[in-house]
Amino acid sequence: MKYTYLDKSLNEINDKVVSGERLGFEDGIALYKSNDLIGVGYLADYVRRKLHGKKAFYVYNQHLNFTNICLNRCLFCAFSRDDGEKDAFALSIDDVRSRLMERINEPVRELHVVGGLNSSLSFDYYIELLNTIKEVRPDSTIKAFTAVEIDHIAKVGGLSIEETIAELKKAGLEMIPGGGAEVMSDRVRKKLFPRKIDSNRWLEIMEALHSAGLTSNATMLYGHIETLNERVDHLIKLRELQDKTGGFTAFIPLAFHSQNTRLSHLPSTTAFDDLKNIALARLMLDNFSHIKAYWVMIGERLAQVGLSFGADDLDGTIIEEKITHMAGAKSAKGLTRAQMEHLISSAGFTPVERDSFYGKIG
């Protein structure tokens, strides 16, 4: 690499990155603290190019949020409601079917299905939900239920995690989104999401899913009350599990949006922090294949720049994104395939439409 680091502490990290040596906790902290944004970008871009060259992926997908009723009521969430509250909803299986039929003429490859922990939905509801999606969209991949929901579904069904996963898999579940990990810190959990499963349980469920042959994503929600140490710890925990199972496909840094949440006094994340989180993920998670620049959260503009800071995937076309928009996201609610390809190619990369497992479409 030819870059002359303005931040000299990056020289040592550069040597490790070039020789393929794994970065440690202190390296992660140094990268987060560095103001040499271009330097951090260079390092991440080096790794990204070795793995993916000029390719940048996206998926033609549809989001389906089947309920916003949630027992957890995490402080950072603008989407959830109590049962009986105004705006609270739970889609019937017929509703789900008609949501899918509304877009049946589109080439949707992946359905991203997540919801709240709604105690009035039975175990059979989840099975029927998957069956229905599979029936209406036999050729699309169902990516559904975060680890937090899997834990809840197991409780509702009175089954072990392993049994639950086996049933869901039989009904059509193929992949699990990475949400619900937030920041794996007991301190943050106590303050922001005390009712949600803790990090050990989240990791346990991910491990069980991977053992059952399902792949999953992983995420980190940043930009609220977490410390840099907690962020780096989080990444290292994910890396350790990935060493063990190899079941994670992509990592997605999630920028916190405070509007309409009980943390609305917090400012938005900055572009420097957003790009650093992408770059850090690429550098620390040496055993993850893909890092996403999630345009819903950081905006199409910055996500495009993120392709040069370690990201190789812009996630999906989506249409109708709800969760982040209820928290004040200013991004579009969906992108067309042409817009997605234009973003990628005008940034100097080659667009690749993919399926859920990063197979090329067409």
Binding site: I38, P267, A271, F272, I298, L302, G348
Partner: protein, 364 residues
């Protein structure tokens, strides 16, 4: 070493690059390479780790315009239901509010309104100067050329009369792309390249400082962008009167040019090449008005050392469907988060208020 690497080396060693070298960089260099080169140039020209901004508002005294440029969503033809000329009462209120918010200047611009004479402009300037201690950054070259022609005066006499009435500096608008072949398509009734440059040259010779701008992402090609930069650099070699250069992207909504909007990566590339090529212009401004706060912050490592105005009011870009907001406090937060000290400046880039809580000493 291939051609691109040679050019990168030349730019990195602070040598002046020529048009064809700039075009190669714009077309072929990696995004982060452009950032590295532009940031290095920024540090060479502005070594203090300070990012400046100005507190002001845009006042559009009239939206009546006979130019009818295809890229404009703001103007009204004479007689249109929405056509207006600002009243003194409204003008007074806007300036009072600006000053109460810590503002130091107003940017006053409008359309080419055939019913306004030189006396109108002189009266407007005098009214402001008689009532308020505020700097007037006003009237872009197409307006100045229009006023001069209407009054049958030379550019020099026109500008001197405006200076006497209180004009403090001229904004660099109306440049769009300084290539006549492009202007004939996008703005056939607007001043030509030579006229634009002549107004700026005359203003500089009369002792008035100005900025220069470029609006790209419509009908031009990369070579036209470089040609534009070359014309600005040549004039600056001659006069030294430009304080800053401000590139921004065309916003197509509600206009008669139907193109895909230039993306942020394209913006950052042009910004970086501008910083490299315009080695004789001290300041480069990021355009948060067209790019939003996130890309404006990233622009600070792509050569920009100034975030422009807090823009208490902005109408022209908003009319084309883009409305970002960036209050002063937020601007300061973004600057500090990027590792720079934030400072409020005047129109001539003198620091007037250094923001508290600076980690870095300002050496001014």
């Amino acid at each position: 070493m291939n051609n691109l690497d040679k050019i990168i080396e030349k730019a990195a060693s602070n040598e002046r690059i020529n048009s064809s070298e700039a075009l190669t960089l714009l077309n072929e260099a990696e995004l982060l390479t452009l950032a590295e080169l532009a940031n290095k140039k920024r540090q060479h020209l502005n070594p203090e780790p300070v990012v400046t901004f100005v507190v002001d508002r845009n006042i559009n005294y009239t939206n009546i315009c006979i130019s009818g440029c295809l890229f404009c969503a703001f103007y009204c033809p004479p007689g249109h239901a929405d056509a207006y000329v600002i009243s003194k009462k409204e003008l007074k209120e806007k300036i009072e509010e600006t000053l109460s918010l810590g503002g130091t200047q107003i940017l006053i611009q409008g359309g080419l309104n055939p019913s306004l004479s030189l006396d109108y402009y002189i009266d407007l300037l005098k009214f402001i100067k008689d009532n308020f201690p505020v700097h007037i950054h006003g009237f872009s070259p197409p307006e100045i050329a229009f006023i001069a022609e209407k009054s049958s005066l030379s550019l020099k006499d026109t500008i001197n009369k405006l200076i006497d009435a209180g004009l403090g500096s001229i904004p660099g608008g109306g440049a769009e792309i300084l290539v006549d072949e492009i202007r004939e398509k996008t703005s056939p009734n607007k001043c030509s390249v030579d006229q634009w440059l002549e107004v700026m040259k005359t203003a500089h010779n009369c002792g008035l400082r100005t900025t220069a701008t470029m609006m790209f992402g419509h009908m031009e090609k990369p070579e036209h962008i470089i040609e534009h930069l070359m014309k600005i650099r040549n004039l600056q070699d001659n006069t030294g009167g430009f304080t800053a250069f401000i590139p921004w992207t065309f916003q197509p909504d509600n206009t008669r040019i139907k193109v895909e909007k230039a993306t942020s990566v394209e913006y950052l590339r042009v910004l970086a090449v501008s910083r490299l090529f315009l080695d004789n212009i001290q300041n480069i401004q990021a355009s948060w008005v067209t790019q939003g706060d996130k890309i404006a912050q990233v622009a600070l490592v792509f050569g920009a050392n100034d975030l422009g105005s807090t823009m208490i009011e902005e109408n022209v870009v908003a009319a084309a469907g883009v409305k970002f907001r960036l209050p002063k406090e937020e601007m300061i937060r973004l600057i500090q988060d990027a590792g720079y000290a934030a400072a409020q400046r005047d129109c001539f880039y003198n620091i007037i208020v250094a923001v508290h809580g600076l980690k870095l000493e300002i050496g001014k």
